[in-house]
């Protein structure tokens, strides 16, 4: 099928818009010669290799005195965030042919695009910083160098002076959004369980591993952290209450966590809770007559419903992003496998058939994939399967175990825990399998749950 050549009108207007009248003349002449013959079939281009866009980041102009340290912190975090994205590679400023320092954005300075194109830049980030004693005002813009240095996006941040780190990462995420339609995840958080303080506590860190902070401190066993969809709280299971598993909620800004579902008439022990995507319901794992089953319940404690009624063990519920389905693990076939069922209950459909032990499903926020861990030999690898079960492929394989995947909110990255260094650490990786990096360093670190975009 050949796409007919476009009439000259629109091409002409776009050419004039770009001031390329000379090209227009030759273009129209040649188009005429082509039009006499049969149209050419398009040249097929497919299967691009894993490559990153190249970005040049200028040091933001300082519009107030005494902002140099803030500007430096901002700069290094923009670079860090862009490198973390897996979408961009930052160009070394020593290779710049253009100025290292950004012009002020207000000035109508023309950008000499060719000097950026010559060093292979796809994008150019410029901006300005204004810092007062306690506040910070940052403006930036990102230019699409390949497409004539047109302005792809601009934005302004008003923050506290000590938030330069976050602003830098937020700018990086914005730049990613400008080129891919989806923000990056440098300015997001990961909750996980670590025993670095002696007991298994829930911790929170930035997605790149910086800014680690303890979230629980009860010297008991805490597990299965699960972010609320709005990022305001973390649900987790703790054994601090009479040494029995109980669900607690740790809310941002509150000092002590609170027990939830206190008045629920549980048929047995309550092992785990998982927020639905709208935050209105929880999927629960509870024991009932010796077997664990999946339940759902309203966030306020009403409407308890048993979704799985079998003698098998059912665990690890994972909501689909539209909240209509739940993936879970059941050993009803004799070995743990992943099933999908309606969030209202009903007959589950078996999803995984590879291997004899598949568990820990997690749904990507864009709904395209379910990541899970699959036992291969004596250890676990991370696999991706689409919810219909038509594509099923390994993502992370290693002779040591990779476990407990959790998707980043952009669906382009996964966090998981791995024992590849001997003890368990949290790693993040792109869903292409590239850009693997370890983000924890001390103790045993497991059960990561990647938080939502921050607001």
């Amino acid at each position: 099928m050949a796409i007919p050549l476009q009439p000259e009108g629109p091409a002409m207007s776009s050419a004039i818009r770009r001031g390329r009248v000379g090209l227009l003349v030759s273009g129209s002449l040649l188009a005429a010669t082509v039009a006499t013959g049969q149209p050419r079939s398009p040249i097929d281009v497919f299967d691009p290799r894993d490559r990153t866009l190249k970005v040049a980041v200028q040091h933001f102009a300082q519009t107030s005195g005494g902002a140099s340290r803030v500007a430096d912190e901002l700069h290094s975090n923009i670079l860090g965030g862009l490198n973390f994205s897996g979408i961009f590679t930052v160009l070394d400023e020593r290779a710049f042919l253009g100025p290292v320092k950004s012009p002020r954005l207000g000035a109508r300075a023309t950008v000499p695009c060719s000097s950026w194109r010559q060093i292979g830049a796809d994008a150019l980030v410029q901006g300005e910083v204004q810092a007062s004693a306690d506040s910070l005002k940052v403006r930036f813009q990102v230019l699409d160098v390949s497409r004539g240095c047109r302005r792809q996006k601009s934005n302004q941040f008003d923050a506290k002076r000590n938030q330069a780190r976050r602003v830098g990462k937020a700018i990086a995420d914005d730049v990613v959004a400008a080129f891919t339609g989806r923000p990056g995840v440098a300015d997001t958080e990961i909750a996980f369980v670590s025993n670095r303080g002696g007991s298994k506590e829930v911790h929170v860190m930035d997605a790149d591993g910086q800014q680690l902070r303890g979230a629980t401190r009860n010297r008991s066993i805490n597990s299965f952290p699960d972010w609320s969809p709005d990022g305001s709280a973390i649900l987790y299971t703790t054994y601090r209450h009479r040494n029995r598993p109980t669900l607690f909620l740790l809310t941002r800004g509150r000092k002590s966590p609170g027990r939830i579902l206190r008045n629920m008439k549980a048929p047995g022990a309550l092992y785990r809770g998982v927020y639905s995507p709208d935050g209105g319901r929880l999927a629960l794992v509870m024991s009932k007559a010796g077997a664990t089953e999946i339940f759902t319940i309203d966030r306020n404690g009403g409407g308890l419903r048993n979704l799985t009624r079998s003698r098998a063990i059912e665990v690890s519920p994972a909501w689909s992003p539209d909240g209509r389905r739940i993936a879970f693990v059941s050993d009803r076939s004799g070995a743990p496998q992943i099933y999908v069922m309606s969030a209202e209950g009903g007959a589950p459909r078996r999803l995984t058939y590879n291997g004899s032990y598949n568990t820990s499903p997690t749904w990507s926020p864009d709904g395209q994939w379910i990541a899970y861990e699959s036992r291969v030999g004596g250890q676990f690898d991370i696999w991706l399967i689409d919810p219909e079960g038509s594509t099923n492929q390994p993502l992370v394989t290693h002779r040591r175990s990779d476990e407990h995947p959790s998707f980043a909110p952009d669906s382009r990255k996964l966090a998981f825990s791995s024992t590849r260094r001997g003890r368990a650490d949290i790693y993040v990786v792109d869903i292409s399998g590239a850009n693997l990096r370890r983000v924890t360093d001390r103790g045993e670190n497991t059960a990561p749950d990647w938080g939502p975009y921050r607001r």
Partner: protein, 253 residues
Amino acid sequence: MQAVLESWQEERRRQFRRLVAISAAAHVGFAMVFWFSPFQPRRQVLPAVVRVDLVAVAPPSAAPRPVRKLPKPAPTKAAPKPKPKPKAKPKPKPIVEKKVLPREPRAKPTPAPPPPPEELSYEDALAKLRESDTSAMPPTPAPAPAMAAARRGPTGGPGRLISAAEAAWRERARAYVLQSWVLSPGFRNQALVTVVEVHVSSSGEVSNPRIAQRSGNPWYDESVERAVQKAGPLPPPPEAGRWQFRFSPRDLR
């Protein structure tokens, strides 16, 4: 004693002569038999046999079909079939074209019957193979429907002939553009097809890109436009003018 000996020797000589005579007669006899026997026509028949063979291949037009279907190996039931074909194929085709075609109708009745059962069994075999394949891997709903639709959509070019020089340039241009195309991993699994039309000057300079067919995802379209712009200058094209590039994350041809 000597007389007895001589008579005995004489007797032996006579016997020998008789045997020689019989043998000669037998030789002549066999020679006559062979000379007039029906074995003789064999020499003349040989070419006729060749023709018959060739005729047998042509009429059912079975030869081209298997070629199309065979890309997948057809193991089990197809086994009996190959026998006639290898014989037929090596025979020089040029002769076939001239001689065989007119005789086709005559030869048809005999070779025609075999192909239908062959064809059926082949189809059956394929069908069974497919069945057994799907039964072995239970949950295999059609792959991403959108992807399948895209596959059905834009197919190869029209009837326009592409010269060897142009084909070589197209391949090089494709490599140039592919080299400069950066696709975010999130788009990799989606059925996105964008066609960009761009002017390529005689020296290979790229200008004035225009999206001729959008994918529905503006960021994908931009990535593609970027790739074309960045790819320039391309190798000098066989003909300056507007060229189209069709981008898809996977090979949809």
